[in-house]
């Protein structure tokens, strides 16, 4: 009789352990999935850029250096391997694209070009998706970290060696406020 109770208690304990472990595993998989989703959006951006360059090259023949910067930044981003170099090259690409869009404002002929406007909309949407994917990743990392650190999960997670994940942080340069250039030279 006592043995039955003993077995029941042990069984319940094991079930509880399994539930927590499964919860941690699925949360960790969510986090890893979200990280890869960011890559999916980044690739979408890489694929759209050659199209954009080809379409605007004719109209913007005096802006060669801006176009060159975008092309080289994209090449670097595509070929980046480690996480750190990827993050850096993607940031450079974002900045180069931003400059290109700012310069495109000076060419009203481009605004009436249907293809250019559609491509610009697609790129805007892609930039949004990249930032939303990063937002989702950070949300999931926060969720995962909370699950790892609360009691009693922290005991089980350290026993099974669950590693914590890092947030996707903004570079200090990104956080700097864009200074307003009031001089007459553009």
């Amino acid at each position: 009789m006592v043995i039955l109770i003993y077995f029941a208690v042990v069984l319940l304990f094991l079930i509880w352990l399994a539930l927590i472990y499964n919860g941690l595993v699925s949360t960790r998989n969510d986090v890893q999935n979200a990280w890869k989703q960011i890559d999916v959006q980044l690739k979408r951006r890489h694929d759209l850029i050659p199209n954009l360059i080809a379409t605007v090259k004719g109209a913007m023949e005096f802006e060669q250096d801006t176009l060159e910067k975008v092309i080289s930044a994209r090449a670097k981003a595509v070929s980046a391997n480690t996480a750190a170099s990827k993050a850096e090259s993607e940031n450079l690409l974002t900045q180069a694209l931003g400059k290109l869009f700012a310069v495109m404002e000076n060419y009203p002929a481009l605004k009436s070009n249907q293809n250019v406007m559609q491509l610009q909309e697609e790129l805007t949407s892609t930039e949004n998706r990249i930032s939303f994917a990063r937002q989702l990743y950070n949300d999931l990392v926060a969720n995962y970290r909370t699950k790892l650190q609360v009691f009693p999960n922290n005991v089980i997670s350290s026993f099974f060696n669950f590693r914590t994940e890092e947030y996707f942080g903004a570079e200090e340069a990104d956080r700097a406020v864009p200074g307003v250039n009031l001089s007459l030279r553009k």
Binding site: Q41, F132, A142, V177
Partner: protein
């Protein structure tokens, strides 16, 4: 408020059970009434009949509940004649992209469909049903007038309603009686003037009252939560504030969106005075909070970014203290970034500064339009004086800057250089309209805009004939530039349905951008309203 999007707790949908109980109670009462009135001998057979009546009521209410709430998304889409967006159309493509972005940020936890409602009114709604489908609808009128950040804010707001589960409750409440009420309403319209008008009218009236009963359970607070979630997602509170303000000044679809479905919309299609008040009865019966309060909350949120700028400015200020201290302002650029702090002299050098730019003096100070600050107004005055046009002594009701005196069709009018609005003395308008031999004929854009506005207004007029005048009280009115009283907003005439603001004390009319040209165009081209029959369920005007 939950910390992240992925753990928005599905609200315990206890209210849905409550609606079922209310429905059951109503059917019990109805069954009792029927047995007492028509089958009095049942009373003598004892209590068993009550059990029987109870079971009948339970079955009927179960069937009603299931049929109403199971497939509501499709019913709503069908009754509004809404279609999926067209990928060949640039504006619809933008909407599809925004929907994709919302799915990305919510991790694809729920697939939400999106449809476009073919109405020129401006509103958006969301519906979810017991089957598990969810849909966000947006009218063509709103879609065409929103910028991208504003569209993102609206869709994020609606998506939060769906994800948090309160859309399901609202849809169930609306569908139990609302679907039949709006069907009855359309039946009333078709049968207007015929002999059997009384029955559908009475039924639609009573179903509507029942649906208002259920709306007591729908809290106003859910709109605040959805606003906050939209800001969390898009990080742009100003865009949502601008959208709400835009919605408040326009036709929100009263008469197009059936009377039972109001609670599903972002702003109540019937602009009632009840919505704009607070207090016990308003909290109980109104499903939408006051606009002013929603905007105040959003504008306060907009000041959060300023804290960072202030911290940086604070460091610099200790280095070079000026005396006397000059007020500094932060301004929102057209790229939706706060910039600053600027002294008034620096503000004057900004090319994009206009009276409608949002500014603030710091994170604890209110966010307002630039025209509210006197020292910034001086900047605009100096810009106007550079133009070398004669300035009049009347000011623009939107921008608060002096109007310049211009000659239009040979007559003196006053024009605002910032928003292109025109002030005309009312008795001069017929003159302007009659002078139809203009050098520049109406551009295509103006002609199509005028046709659209006419059609939209005529459709709205058909519905508004029945609605209460207090609906107008809730629309924010502009103040007359001469006497300061609120100007009445209404159609120029029954034949020419362009909306203008008029002050009857001073005898002046205010036209917003393009409105005067559209009026001339309507008359020149003899554009007549084309609506022959309003949109009914099952009928299409296309």
């Amino acid at each position: 408020m939950p910390l992240t999007f992925i753990d928005i707790e599905r609200q315990k949908n206890w209210r849905i059970w409550l609606f079922f109980l209310v429905l059951l109670f109503l059917y019990l009462v109805l069954t009792a009434f029927v047995t007492v009135a028509f089958l009095p001998f049942f009373w003598q057979t004892g209590p068993r009949i009550w059990v029987f009546a109870g079971m009948v009521a339970l079955m009927v209410s179960g069937i009603h509940f299931w049929f109403s709430a199971y497939d509501t998304s499709r019913t709503v889409v069908r009754s509004l004649d809404a279609r999926p967006p067209d990928p060949q159309d640039d504006v619809h493509k933008m909407l599809m992209n925004v929907m994709q972005e919302i799915h990305v940020v919510t991790g694809n936890r729920r697939t939400i469909q999106c449809v476009v409602i073919p109405s020129f009114s401006m509103n958006a709604l969301s519906a979810a049903d017991l089957r598990g489908e969810a849909v966000i609808g947006i009218t063509e009128g709103l879609l065409s007038r929103l910028t991208r950040p504003q569209l993102e804010a609206v869709i994020a707001h609606e998506a939060h309603h769906i994800l948090s589960g309160d859309c399901l409750e609202t849809t169930v409440a609306a569908s139990l009686f609302g679907v039949y009420s709006s069907a009855m309403e359309k039946l009333t319209d078709t049968s207007n003037g015929r002999s059997f008008n009384a029955a559908p009218f009475f039924m639609s009236w009573s179903l509507l009252k029942l649906s208002y009963l259920l709306s007591m359970f729908i809290s106003r607070e859910r709109e605040y939560r959805a606003d906050a979630a939209a800001v969390r997602m898009t990080r742009d509170p100003i865009a949502l504030a601008e959208t709400l303000y835009l919605l408040s000044r326009s036709w929100r679809g009263a008469g197009f969106i059936g009377s039972g479905f109001e609670m599903l919309c972002i702003m109540n299609p019937q602009a009632t005075a009840l919505d704009e008040t607070e207090g016990f009865w308003a909290d109980l019966f109104s499903t939408h909070p006051p606009l002013r309060k929603r905007m105040d909350i959003l504008l306060k949120m907009a000041q959060v970014n300023i804290a960072e700028l202030e911290a940086k400015a604070g460091k610099a200020a200790t280095v070079n203290a000026q005396n006397p201290p000059v007020p500094r302002y932060y301004a929102m650029s057209p790229r939706r970034q706060w910039q600053g702090p600027f002294t008034p002299a620096e503000l004057a050098a900004l090319p994009w500064l206009s009276p409608l730019t949002w500014i603030t003096q710091g994170k604890d100070r209110p966010v307002e339009r630039a025209s509210k600050e006197q020292c910034i107004n001086d900047i605009f005055l100096s810009r106007l004086s550079e133009l070398e046009r004669p300035l009049s002594n009347v000011t623009c009701p939107c921008c608060r800057q002096p109007l310049t005196t211009e000659s239009y069709e040979g007559t003196q009018v006053f024009q605002c250089r910032f928003c292109a609005g025109i002030l005309v003395e009312s008795d001069r308008i017929p003159r302007i309209i009659v002078r139809t031999n203009r050098e520049t004929p109406c551009s295509e854009r103006i002609v199509s805009l005028a046709k659209t506005v006419m059609q939209q207004n005529q459709l709205r007029q058909l519905r508004y004939l029945k609605s209460v005048d207090s609906a107008k009280a809730a629309v924010p009115l502009l103040a007359c530039p001469k006497c300061g009283n609120p100007m009445m907003r209404g159609f120029y005439s029954q034949a020419h349905m362009i909306e203008v603001d008029r002050c009857s004390f001073c005898g002046i009319t205010w036209f917003d951008q393009d409105e005067l040209v559209m009026l001339q165009c309507l008359i020149e081209n003899r554009i007549l309203p084309e609506i022959t029959s309003p949109n009914y369920i099952g009928q299409s005007t296309h």
